[in-house]
């Protein structure tokens, strides 16, 4: 029994003193900024939407041709593993436990003998658009909790912020899950000889849905972290 206790303490010692806190390589500021701008220039030259995760400003920018289309606030973030201060990725996939499904359009039966009159638009004062139930993919159908899989082994998990006692418990559970699962995933990917890193972002629920809506495979994602977190 005494022996097992000793083994346990040694393990706890290792866990506490081997730092898993993400460390960035040290780059001088002007060099970082130049690298960041060069990377953004390469994205802005293409006719595609791209995303900048500016971790110092705690913002996610949706951009095209250097123009900011939208920005989202990052409430909280957490890193795992080594990461570079400036790095350009491509999104290879998104994953969510409840992925939205497209509706299939039902084909109307044609009337053989008479042509149906064209639909008349509704008259009178319009109902609130949001109250009308429609079969379509809309922002509200998007998940607020999902993962973005980037090339080069980085996984960004996005969670909504929430308030209240239950969410406090959820937050604790999520943190525990993070600190237990990340080392295991690191070992798993090391066995597969593939790089792995993780970034956890907490956004407002609507912003998280907007990010899921707007980002898709092939989009460029530029992560800029000029300061250690």
């Amino acid at each position: 029994m005494h022996c097992w206790r000793t083994v346990l303490f040694i393990h706890i010692f290792f866990v506490l003193f081997i730092s898993a806190e993400a460390r960035s390589e040290s780059l001088k500021s002007p060099e970082e900024e130049r690298l960041f701008l060069q990377s953004e220039l390469s994205l802005a030259q293409k006719p595609n939407i791209y995303f900048i995760l500016h971790l110092k400003e705690k913002k996610i920018y949706f951009k095209a041709r250097g123009v900011v289309l939208r920005d989202l606030e990052i409430k909280k973030m957490r890193f795992w593993g080594r990461h570079e201060k400036v790095k350009l990725y491509a999104l290879t996939g998104k994953a969510a436990s409840a992925e939205p499904q497209r509706e299939a359009v039902e084909i109307e039966n044609a009337k053989k003998d008479e042509k149906a009159p064209p639909p008349t638009p509704p008259t009178g004062s319009p109902a609130t658009p949001g109250s009308i139930d429609i079969k379509a993919l809309e922002l509200e159908d998007m998940p607020s909790s999902f993962s973005l899989i980037l090339d080069d082994g980085l996984v960004i998990s996005v969670k909504p912020d929430s308030q209240g006692a239950v969410s406090g418990l959820y937050s604790i559970a999520h943190s525990l899950n993070w600190y237990i699962s990340q080392p295991l995933l690191t070992v798993w990917y090391a066995i597969k000889n593939r790089p792995y890193g993780a970034l956890n972002l907490v956004l407002n629920e609507k912003d998280a849905k907007a990010l899921y809506w707007s980002i898709y495979e092939g989009n460029g994602v530029l992560i800029y972290n000029p300061q250690n977190h």
Binding site: E40, R65, G66, P122, A136, P183
Partner: protein
């Protein structure tokens, strides 16, 4: 002996688990700078090859030189908003309807249409007053009707409002009879705008203006 045996298996599992955790923490913290730098250098090499190595101020100027000159349109399909912009200034904000994201498959199963508003950068190809709707094949398939061979049978007037701006591949920014649905994702890919906003956009957007949709 038996008493000790009861503790051994869970203890072994715990030790193995903690060992894996320790290994994971160690691997995460281990320096792989050289590998990371090499990978990053390789990746940005292609991007850098065409880029002048310049001062940040020069690079910033180059990025801002890529932004649309003059009037341009930004369409946010998540929030169903259209912004008519000049530089950083928003000249007009409009509530719109964009693509429903629904899928239509014709009964033969040979063709499928996905009703998304196309993302990315486009431009205004042409502007039309009092546009007629030339019904595409999907409109007949959706209604269970036969696709007409006569072009004239496809034309319907009064469906697209007073103005339309074509942005390529059959997609239009146009008016709508269904104004109560503005703000929702209900279209087959086109962008529907209310009458007053559409008139403003039509009259102030030259042909060739950029249209950025996200």
């Amino acid at each position: 002996m038996l008493k000790r045996a009861r503790y051994i298996i869970p203890a072994v599992i715990l030790v193995l688990f903690l060992s894996l955790e320790c290994l994971g923490y160690y691997l995460a913290g281990r320096s792989s700078v050289a590998t990371d730098e090499a990978r990053h250098a390789k990746k940005t090499e292609g991007a850098r090859a065409a880029q002048p190595n310049g001062k940040p101020s020069v690079l910033k100027k180059k990025i801002s030189s890529l932004s649309p000159k003059g009037i341009y349109i930004v369409i946010d399909t998540a929030r169903n908003r259209l912004y008519l912009k000049k530089g950083d200034v928003t000249l007009r904000e409009a509530v719109i309807s964009s693509g429903s994201g629904n899928v239509l498959t014709d009964p033969s199963g040979k063709r499928t249409w996905v009703f998304d508003t196309p993302r990315g950068e486009h431009s205004v190809k042409s502007k039309i007053e009092n546009p007629d709707w030339v019904k595409p094949d999907w409109a007949f398939v959706e209604e269970g009707e036969e696709i007409p061979s006569n072009y004239g049978d496809r034309v319907e007037s009064g469906m697209l409002g007073d103005y339309a701006l074509a942005i390529g591949n059959g997609y239009l920014i146009h008016g709508t009879l269904y104004t109560r649905m503005l703000g929702r994702n209900v279209t087959h890919g086109c962008v529907r705008v209310g009458d007053e906003d559409l008139e403003y956009v039509f009259k102030n957007t030259p042909i060739g203006s950029k249209v950025i949709i996200f």
